[in-house]
Each structure stands twice: as structure tokens, then as C-alpha cells.
Symmetry: C2
């Protein structure tokens, strides 16, 4: 018998900002001695708290079902196989990545389609949760399938210093675009311009934000990558060029609203410019992941893409790190290492 801590959702959070009180850390006993066929024991190594998980904390159906109250939350992460039992797929010491429970150690069916083995000799584990994982795929597919940035065009990215944003801006620089990042602090702007080589950065917390954005895009906006929504984007719509493309990846400013926020009706802007606003999730393009990961790995290995992370430590840090996503304190992918 092994004691293992887990994090469960205590109640649905239908609206408003989640707090520590909505989660509970429990200790459970698991018996790892007698494994069933194909069962393995996995120790959680790194957890990826992601904004989309907020949606699973309500009882409303969305593109993935709500979490179950009282059961461990599951999210993207990396675990290490500590017992392989009769598994035909995994050996002790293997790293697996995918949807894993927020639980220190757990029994897992090795036939689950929700995880896959990763080769930890190729890159640091952290990169598999960022540029070489769901985050990288999100940036790649959203640009390839919807944004279609072309050389010389102007791209604006909200949440530019976040996990997906920092990859989007770098891919667009590789494509020869003029890239302007929107972020919430001068430190982040500095990172974007000085370390990632952006053409300009605009701080949405500045009182002159709208003016600053207008000045940063004298030729208008051809691609707007949407991570944030709300008032941050209200400054963007009037600047769209004809045939602008807007990959709609997230609206993190809206996830904790207690009621539907109102804002300017944006259809007129899209109509006037024949622009396209298209929502997507990474799994829409799952059949193209192979080609995408190959390209991302090339860019990463050649140093054309930098991959910064904000790494917190310890199991009890998972919930606070998740909550911090909505304050925008992370630069690059937020993750929590357990060991």
C-alpha cells in the first residue's frame, strides 16, 4: 500500500474566479502490489496547469466534459513509470505524457489512448509540455490552418508572452512577418522585444494602450492571434486590414466572468474588412500532428524557437499555479515540477 496525495474539485465553480477553497488535497491509499493485466504504476513528474481547464470546472457541457466532483482533476502532464506490471507498451523508467490525474502516484491502464511515451533523450521534459507538445501544436495548427501569416504582413498577438503566445510570435518571425505582441507588464514586453526579437510590444495595462497599439501597426493588422478577448481585443478590431485572419485560441479574460460581459458588437468590423474569425482547439487537427511536431522540433533544435517556462515546485503548488494563470503572472508555459 502506498499513500498518495490527490487534488479534487470540491464543487463546480459556475462563474467567478476560482479560489483555493474550491479544491481539496486528499490522501488516498493505492495498492500497487497486485496489478491487473496492462496496469502500470505512474509517478507524476510535471503538471501543466492550462487555462482551458477552467471550463471543465463548471457543470456546463463544452468540447470536453466537466470534471467529476470528488475525483482527482486531470490535466496535461508527464509521469514516470515506476512499475510496469504486464504492460506490453511501457517499461519501468519510461516517461508518459498526456491527460493524467493530479495525484502523486497512481495506477494507469497502459492501453489508454490519452497518453503516449516520450523520448526524454531528445529534449528536456519541460519542452514536451510546451513547444513539443499541445502548446506547440496549438500555435502551429492555428497559424497554418487559420492565420496563414505571409511574409511582410503584420501580426498582432494577445497574451504574447504566455505559453502559446510566445511560440506564435516566434513562428511568425520565422515566416518573415512584422510581429507586435500585447502583454500585461513591461517585463514581458522587454522579454518579447529583446529576447524574442519582436518588432514592438504593447502593454495593455498602460493608459495609452489603444494609442500605443495604433502606432505599433501603421500598416494595419493582417493576422490577429486571439488569446485574451475583452477590452484587450476591443483596441484591435478597428485596425484590421482587408482579408484579416483571426485564429481564436482563447479568451482568458472572460473565463471567470460572473455574467456574460458586454462589449462593442464586432461583426461590423469583420464585415467591412472581409475578415475571418475562427475558433479552434488543437485536437481539430490531430491528423496533422506528425508533420507539425517534426517542424517544431527542427525549429527548436536549430535555436529558431526559444522555449521559456515558468516553473513552480511541489504538489501543493499545483492549484496556486493554476490560479495564477488568470492573473497573467507567468511568462512562457506555466508548469509545476513535483520531484
Amino acid at each position: 500500500m502506498v499513500l498518495s496525495k490527490q487534488i479534487v474539485l470540491k464543487n463546480y465553480i459556475e462563474s467567478g474566479t476560482p479560489t483555493l477553497e474550491d479544491f481539496e488535497e486528499k490522501t488516498v491509499k493505492i495498492s500497487t502490489e497486485e496489478l491487473q493485466a496492462e496496469e502500470i504504476v505512474v509517478r507524476l513528474e510535471i503538471v501543466s496547469p492550462d487555462p482551458y481547464m477552467r471550463g471543465r470546472m463548471t457543470s456546463r457541457k463544452s468540447y470536453i466534459p466537466p470534471f467529476e466532483i470528488g475525483k482527482p482533476i486531470s490535466g496535461y502532464g508527464i509521469g514516470k513509470v515506476t512499475k510496469a506490471g504486464s504492460s506490453s507498451k511501457y517499461a519501468v523508467g519510461d516517461y508518459i505524457m498526456g491527460q493524467l490525474p493530479w495525484q502523486e502516484e497512481f495506477i494507469y491502464n497502459s492501453n489508454s489512448p490519452y497518453v503516449n511515451k516520450i523520448d526524454s533523450t531528445l529534449a528536456p521534459l519541460e519542452s514536451f509540455l510546451s513547444v513539443l507538445g499541445m502548446v506547440g501544436l496549438t500555435a502551429y495548427h492555428g497559424l497554418k490552418e487559420i492565420g496563414e501569416p505571409k511574409q511582410g504582413e503584420t501580426v498582432v498577438v494577445s497574451g504574447a508572452a504566455g505559453a502559446v503566445g510566445q511560440l506564435v510570435v516566434q513562428i511568425c518571425k520565422i515566416k518573415g512577418c512584422k510581429v507586435v505582441g500585447i502583454a500585461g507588464s513591461d517585463d514581458k514586453i522587454k522579454y518579447l522585444v529583446e529576447e524574442l526579437g519582436l518588432d514592438a510590444g504593447v502593454n495593455y495595462n498602460s493608459p495609452t494602450y489603444k494609442l500605443d497599439l495604433g502606432k505599433a501597426v501603421p500598416n494595419g493588422i493582417d493576422v490577429y492571434w486571439e488569446n485574451v478577448g475583452g477590452v484587450v481585443s476591443d483596441a484591435v478590431w478597428p485596425l484590421l486590414n482587408k482579408f484579416a485572419r483571426i485564429p481564436l485560441c482563447g479568451v482568458i479574460s472572460q473565463y471567470n466572468n460572473t455574467e456574460m460581459e458586454v462589449g462593442p458588437r464586432i461583426e461590423g468590423y469583420l464585415l467591412k474588412t472581409s475578415s475571418k474569425l475562427q475558433g479552434f482547439i488543437v485536437s481539430n487537427y490531430i491528423s496533422k500532428n506528425g508533420e507539425a511536431l517534426k517542424q517544431l522540433a527542427e525549429w527548436y533544435k536549430s535555436g529558431q524557437i526559444k522555449d521559456r517556462h515558468t516553473v513552480d515546485n511541489g504538489f501543493s503548488q499545483i492549484v496556486p499555479s493554476f490560479l495564477a494563470l488568470f492573473k497573467g503572472t507567468n511568462t512562457g508555459k506555466m508548469m509545476v515540477k513535483l520531484t
Copy 2:
């Protein structure tokens, strides 16, 4: 010398609903005796007052430039050549269609790329301003390029009894879709259901509009054709299915606003469903007009598409008919016959 009435814009109408006082009917003298090379004399036969023209009555730049104050308004229409001069393209009695001034009789350069000759033996003149003209092309291209309705899918159309709407609903019925029309009166609903064979019609002026729409689309909405915007569309967004497509053709409810209207932020709905909202104007697809007109003519000749018009009469009726568009009194294409 000939005396000819013309309608000019007296002042820009930056916001609010246009009134009769914003326009002036003037009488001008034109000398038709000595035409320059390629000049012809044209008598205006039918005028097509169109909602998009409201945008040209402000001083703001859009996809087409503003009208010039004091010069005759120009819009889609059909004229008859009364003097052909030395024209190598047109003969007396020919009908030409395109952007023509709101003026009873005028001199025109026959090399203008903005008009073309129509064969009045093929169909009634009115049809060239509807199913066989810009209106038909708008419906055809918007569906083909953005809406992509598939057999068995549910299509909802706002402004369904209007010029473009009545064609969109009929094309979607031909494609084997379940089609629900939104319109503003019970008479229009009756026309849609009884004459055009729609599966249901919903009156947005009914106090139970939102509920009615929900009941009419038990399987959700796969394609939403947007002509209206505002509160009419607010009922639509929560009903979108995964991968919904929204051809954004117009937002007539917004054109006369005195200030930017606010409404629910819609990005969350598009994100959750991976839906696409795309603005367009008919001229984006000009290279495909040939194929489109061929198909529209086939449907029209075979009786698969009916083409209803609201026809007013007389030159002085042009402005009142234009203003009536924003009250939604017309069923089918609004036009004004002068002779």
C-alpha cells in the same frame, strides 16, 4: 438640351437614421446632341436601393469610397441606351446594368468597366437585379465559399425574406438542408414557409422569439447566414453546433446606430464550437461569377428558385424606398421602376 432629375446627397449622415431631408432632388440640363467618342445617352429604367449604400453616406472610408456631396448618388440599376453615338459596344435599345447615377437620363462612357449589357430576352429585367445579379451572386458565393451547407444540416437565415435572404434559403433547400428563416412579420414567415417551403420561420418581433428559435432547431445550427446582427443574432450564438459556419453578409440592424452598440461578447461561443465567422462582399469572388450565374440561371429557369420583388414606382420614390429598407417592409428585392 434635355432636363433630367437627379438625386444628390445633401450632407454626410455620420450616424442615425437617414431622412428625406438628407437628400435633394435637383433638375439638371444635359446636352445630348454632341456626344464625345464612346459616349452614350442612357435612360434609367430600374433602380436597386441596397442596404450597403448606407455606408457610403458617411465620410468614413470603407470597402468603397463615400458618395460625393452634391453629386448624384450612384447605385445598382438598369438603364436603356437612347443614343449610342460612336459607341463600339452598345446600340440604341440595349439594356445596361451596373453602377448608375440616380438620374433620369445621363451621358455615360461606354468603356466604363462598371456596367455590362444584359440580354432582356432571357428573363424579366427585374431578375437581373435579383437572382441573376449582385443579389444572387452574394447568396451563391457566400454559401459556396463560407457557409458550405451540407445535406441534412440545419441552416438559419436572418433577414430571410429580404433580397439576399430569400435566395439563400432556397439554395439551402436545394442542397437538402433543414432551413429556418428569421423575419420580422407573420406575413413574411407565411411567405417563407408556404411559398418557399422552409421548415420553419421565426418572427424576431415576437416576445417568445428566443424560445421559438430554440424550438425550431432541436439539432442546433450548422450554418447561420447573417444579414441583420444585433439582438436578432444574440439568440443564435448559443445554438451553434461544432464547426458552424457563419457567412457575414450584413448587419442591417447596426447601420443607422448613433453610437457603437454593445452586446454580449460572442467570441466565447465561437471558441467553444470551433466556429467560423467570416465577412465578405460579393466582389471578393468576381472571378467565379460566370459559373455562379450559370447555376443561378438554371435554378431560376427550372423553377427551383422563386424570385419575389417589392416594386415601387417613379423617380421620386427612390429615396423613400431606400429608407424603407431599414424598416424591413420589403419582401424580396426592393426595386423602383421609373418607366
